[in-house]
Every structure is written in structure tokens, then in C-alpha cells.
């Protein structure tokens, strides 16, 4: 096993790790050795062909359908340089005051996080798309909300040179999305931060001068053809770092700490895991509409988060994902798919509670296992969201609405006045309704005591001054918005603590 020494090792290159290395650029410029390790390869846009299966297999773990243990929810998260910022839609929302104040953590201040988040909005070119670039699918969402007197908010999105391919979730073929692979990581590398791809960190443990990483560099052939080799030769490495920052995301960060033997000291490790479960609804219109061209996600309606625990967003998905998300099968399901170019789509998301039994564990091989159940309040929130979305669809002129929590699942215009009765929790059967989640949070939550948390509010693992966490696994509860900008703000906050440590 080869030994490598460095000052700071950052594990994971998504919204968290990418932000940390950018914040540590000054350290690299001053001659300190900062290394960013990424489990996946570096992809370039020539690989992004927009085909569903190719891209799902290339960019997502488990093809974008990582199952929880009871298989009632599938999780979508990405690997490769940029992590899930490769496949998000770039919706750039500030952390909500209500949630940050509920966290009630010393040193975590809402206005400070917003200031950092605003800086990243500028850095990532987040802005409101002009009206001419908004497609009909999004306009219908806005129209439906307006007809109901509901206030639809426009998402700022972090794109530059967006051509409207609508393929954000399959990797932008035009490099228009300003994720960490486009902005923060190139800046960090220019300052001297080293990037090592295809590097799987097996364990992290304390050493004489900080932490020791056991890393395996892979040269295994990728099932989808030629993938860039790692910057290091294949094999096992022992990396000795003065400071280690774990930013592998809410599934892999807790899993890494668990397989590294931290569980006995941290009863909260892996626990209080949330994911803002979601599913897609479709409304059928009379005429074709532009849904597969243009930015897919321009509007949301979130006015009822506090009371009803949901928010809804305009969205567009590809035929297979759409087929998967529409409940059922047979002639009616196929008829709706055949209406694809007349479909308006809405994503409904629930704010789920952070509970100790919702958690990440590891299997015998040390790989993550996610124990997550759709709890009754979450199902109620999804049903409330479905009712709201059905009203938006009909108010926008839809002829019919597919609602997974209705039997039969198709609501016609005659059902408009009976939405509350038709959409019902008793029809929401976990396992038969397609629920997926991409907002994965918790597992290494911040707090002030080890009984209920893993890290301090500065992201330092309790009692381990050499070990930090800087990703969505820090969230004590669900953030209740699209999370990437909060992840970046929090990672930047953590990076300041790392900088302070390295400066002494």
C-alpha cells in the first residue's frame, strides 16, 4: 500500500465537497497540499447523449433507482465529478428562515447562510429565465396557480448558455448548468487543489497527525464504455491528512463513518435521515404542448409548507421515468403514455420528519443500506400535495389528471369538485405508488451533544478535531426546499472552520 501525505483530504465532489475545495483554494495557493477524492470518474459533455438508460446507468448509482429496504421509495443520487450537481436542475433557492431557526444551532445563523448562498447564486449565475425561455409545461403551471389565486414562484436557475435541451437530469449536453464540476472545482484546481477520481475511500481512522484514509483506486472497466482513468495508478493507498472532510452525500457519508467504526461513539450516526419523497403527476391536455424542450423546472408553489408539509413544482420527465411514475399498467396506463406530448407534469414533494429509525446502515460488505418508511404524516402530505396539483392541472385546462392516490387513478373534469374525496390516503399504498427522492439529507446531523448528533454546528465530528462533514448529511431535519444551495452555504461555513484549523 502506497503512502501519501497531504494537509487536507476532501472526500466527495458534489455541492458539499466541491464548495469546500473552492474555499480552500487559498490554502493550496500557499503551498498546502489539498486533495479532492471522487469515487466516480470525470465525465465530459460528449458522453451526455440524452438517452435515458445510457445516462441513468452512467451518472446515477443503481441507475437512479437505489431502493430503500422495504422498496417503497427509490433514491436518485449521482457519482462522478460534480456529484449530484451533474444531474440536478439547478433550482437555486435560499435556505428557509423557518427551518434554520427550528434547527436552533449555535453558530448557524440564517442571515449568514443566506449571505453565503447569495454569493453562490452570483458565482453560479443563478437567475430567473426570461419569459421567452419558459416552455408551455411551465406556463400551464403558472396559469393554473394564477387561476386559483395561488402564488407560483419562479425558480432562479444556475444556467449559462442554456439551450433548453431539457435534459438537466441526464447530464447537460451543453455544459450550461453551473454545478461544482463547472465552477468551483475548476477554480480550486487552478489554485493547485489536486483531483483524484475513481477513488473509493474504504475507511477513515485517526492517525498521528490527523486522519488516515484507506483508498482504493479503480481501473475496472465501466459497463458503459471508455471512462477516463484515475489520476493515480490503480491500487490501494494510505493517505495521511492533517484534516479530513467527508462530503460523500447523505447516503455515503454516514456509510463511510459507519464502516470506519464510529458507530459506538455516535448513536445518532446514520439516523434522522430524510429525503423529501416525491412523485410525478400528469395532466392530460387537448393539444400538444412543449414539455420536452426548455428548462424543465421554472415554477413552484410552496405556500402551504408550514401547515400541510408539501410543495409542488413544474417538472418534465422522460418516457420511461414517466411510465414508471404513473401508477398501474395496462391499456389506461398506455393510453396516457401515448398522450405524452399532451402531458403537463407536476412533481409533488413531502416534507418528512427526521426520525431516529429512518437511517442508513451498512451491509456485510460495508455498502450503504437505507431503512426508510413512508410514515402516515408523509403520506398525508403527499396526498395533500396531489390534491393541490390536481387543482392546478384542472385550473390550467387539463382534461384529465392521473393521481396515484385515487382509485381509479384517472380524474376527469367531472371530478373537479370531488378532488378531496377522490384523492385519499387509503389509496396510497406504499409499494404500488412510485415514490422517488433526490433530496437526501441527514445521517451525520449537526448538534450540540453526541446523544442526538454526530457533528458540531461547525461540521466537526464531536471530539475529532481532524474530522469534518460538509454535505447534506449535516442537516438535522429536512430543509423543505431544493437543497443544493443550502448544502453549498453550509459547506462554505464548514470550510471556514477547516481553514482556521489549517491556519494554526
Amino acid at each position: 500500500m502506497s503512502r501519501i501525505d497531504c494537509d487536507v483530504a476532501v472526500i466527495g465532489s458534489g455541492a458539499g465537497g466541491g464548495t469546500v475545495v473552492a474555499a480552500l483554494a487559498a490554502l493550496a495557493r500557499s503551498g498546502k497540499r489539498v486533495i479532492l477524492f471522487e469515487k466516480g470518474p470525470k465525465f465530459d459533455r460528449s458522453r451526455f447523449n440524452g438517452r435515458e438508460v445510457d445516462m441513468a446507468e452512467l451518472l446515477f448509482e443503481a441507475g437512479g433507482s437505489f431502493p430503500v429496504v422495504d422498496r417503497s421509495v427509490t433514491l436518485a443520487f449521482s457519482e462522478g465529478v460534480g456529484g449530484s450537481t451533474q444531474v440536478y436542475t439547478g433550482t437555486s433557492l435560499l435556505p428557509p428562515r423557518r427551518v434554520i431557526e427550528q434547527w436552533n444551532l449555535p453558530g448557524i445563523d440564517h442571515s449568514d447562510l443566506c449571505e453565503r448562498a447569495e454569493a453562490f447564486r452570483v458565482q453560479n449565475n443563478a437567475h430567473l429565465l426570461p419569459g421567452a425561455d419558459i416552455n408551455e409545461n411551465n406556463r400551464l403551471f403558472q396559469k393554473g396557480c394564477a387561476a386559483l389565486g395561488w402564488d407560483a414562484q419562479q425558480f432562479p436557475v444556475n444556467v449559462k448558455g442554456c439551450k433548453g435541451s431539457s435534459l438537466c437530469n441526464l447530464g447537460c449536453p451543453n455544459d450550461a448548468k453551473m454545478g461544482t464540476q463547472q465552477v468551483q472545482i475548476p477554480a480550486a484546481r487552478a489554485a493547485g487543489v489536486e483531483l483524484v477520481t475513481r477513488a473509493k475511500v474504504r475507511t477513515v481512522r485517526p492517525g498521528d497527525r490527523g486522519g488516515i484514509l484507506d483508498i482504493e483506486i479503480s481501473d475496472a472497466p465501466h459497463p458503459h464504455g471508455n471512462i477516463a482513468k484515475s489520476e493515480w495508478e490503480p491500487g490501494r493507498y494510505e493517505v495521511h491528512a492533517h484534516t479530513v472532510v467527508v462530503a460523500g452525500g447523505a447516503v455515503h457519508s454516514p456509510a463511510l463513518l459507519l464502516r470506519s467504526g464510529f458507530a459506538p461513539d455516535f448513536p445518532a450516526l446514520g439516523r434522522y435521515w430524510t429525503c423529501q419523497p416525491a412523485h410525478i403527476l400528469a395532466g392530460e391536455h387537448e393539444k400538444p404542448l412543449t414539455n420536452a424542450i426548455g428548462h424543465p423546472k421554472s415554477f413552484l408553489y410552496d405556500a402551504r409548507i408550514a401547515e400541510d408539509r408539501f410543495f409542488v413544482e413544474a417538472c418534465m420527465y422522460f418516457p420511461f421515468v414517466t411510465a414508471k411514475n404513473l401508477t398501474g399498467f395496462g391499456p389506461e396506463h398506455y393510453r396516457l403514455l401515448k398522450a405524452y406530448e399532451r402531458l403537463q407534469m407536476i412533481l409533488v414533494l413531502a416534507c418528512d420528519d427526521a426520525l431516529p429509525d429512518q437511517r442508513v446502515t451498512i451491509d456485510a460488505a460495508g455498502e450503504p443500506v437505507v431503512h426508510y418508511k413512508l410514515m402516515p404524516p408523509t403520506i398525508t402530505a403527499l396526498c395533500n400535495a396531489t390534491r393541490a396539483a390536481a387543482r392546478i392541472f384542472f385550473a390550467a385546462g387539463a382534461l384529465a389528471v392521473h393521481a396515484p392516490s385515487a382509485r381509479p387513478t384517472l380524474l376527469t373534469r367531472g371530478d373537479r369538485d370531488h378532488i378531496d374525496e377522490r384523492i385519499c390516503e387509503r389509496h396510497f399504498l406504499p409499494g404500488s405508488v412510485s415514490v422517488s427522492a433526490a433530496h437526501l439529507m441527514g445521517g451525520c446531523r449537526m448538534g450540540t451533544a453526541t446523544a442526538h448528533s454526530v457533528t458540531t454546528p461547525q461540521g466537526q465530528v464531536h471530539g475529532k478535531p481532524w474530522l469534518y462533514v460538509a454535505d447534506a448529511s449535516l442537516f438535522p431535519t429536512a430543509i423543505e426546499v431544493n437543497p443544493y444551495l443550502t448544502v453549498m452555504a453550509l459547506a462554505d461555513h464548514v470550510a471556514q472552520a477547516v481553514l482556521a484549523r489549517e491556519s494554526h
Binding site: D70, A323, K324
Partner: protein, 146 residues
């Protein structure tokens, strides 16, 4: 070539797949095997236990109707096949619901990711987005001119 996981069960799977996705009935055997090959490729990286569970589940779906209708699944009328699967989809046992959901999702993967099928549904992706759509429309307009 990925390991054959569901392909060997093609005769049992075909009536199930046709019930879940009616146009699969129009596919010839080679095209249907192509659908299954795509599913097998997706399953190649999954734990062997999952493959075993899937194969077992296909057999359960095939033979379970014998207890209710004295016929295998393939021997049922199309309407009764659909009713049987719908009953399982909404049954109180979550593992059965998950099984139906998982199998139908795999069949959707094999069928709806085919670019020709996607085009027939009206899905027309353009890597260059608005420009591509405008170019395509202009070409269609020119083609329509006498």
C-alpha cells in the same frame, strides 16, 4: 453479454408483459427478446438474490391463478389477467405490491427506453433544445411545400 436473468422465462413473461404494456403483443419474438435483454443488462449489476426473487415472482404470477381460476396466468383472458394483476397491485401484502411494481418497472424499462417507441409517443429530444426544435420545424415546413 449480460447473464440471462429473465430471458429464460420469456414464455411465462410474455403474457404478463403484454398485459402491462399492450403493444408488446405486437412485437415478434426477436423484438420481445430484445426487450428482455435490455432488462437483463440492467439487472446484471444487482445482487444474485434479487435475480432469484424476480424469477420466483414470475413463476408465482404464472401459477397463482390456478388456485382461483384453474388456469395459469397465460390461460386467462386479457381482462382477467389485468384484473388479477390489479388485485395484486392493491393487495394488503406490501411485498406482493412491490413485486408487481418492480416487475412492471423493469418491463417499462425494456420497452419505453427504445428510441423508436419514444418517438412514437411523441418524445423528441434535441440536444440543442429550442434551436433543434426550430430547425426540425423549418425542415418539416419545407418538406410540406409543393
Amino acid at each position: 453479454m449480460p447473464a440471462a436473468i429473465l430471458t429464460p422465462l420469456h414464455d411465462k413473461l410474455r403474457p404478463i408483459a403484454e398485459t402491462m404494456v399492450p403493444p408488446i403483443a405486437d412485437l415478434d419474438q426477436a423484438a420481445f427478446l430484445k426487450v428482455l435483454a435490455l432488462i437483463d443488462a440492467r439487472l446484471a449489476g444487482e445482487p444474485p438474490a434479487l435475480a432469484r426473487q424476480l424469477r420466483l415472482f414470475v413463476k408465482v404470477l404464472t401459477f397463482l391463478p390456478i388456485f382461483f381460476a384453474l388456469r395459469t396466468f397465460g390461460g386467462l383472458s386479457p381482462a382477467r389477467r389485468l384484473a388479477f394483476l390489479e388485485a395484486l397491485q392493491d393487495c394488503p401484502i406490501q411485498k406482493l405490491r412491490v413485486g408487481v411494481w418492480g416487475l412492471r418497472t423493469l418491463i417499462y424499462l425494456g420497452y419505453y427506453t427504445d428510441p423508436a417507441v419514444q418517438a412514437a409517443l411523441g418524445y423528441r429530444p434535441y440536444l440543442d433544445g429550442w434551436e433543434g426544435m426550430a430547425r426540425d420545424k423549418a425542415r418539416q415546413t419545407q418538406g410540406a411545400q409543393p
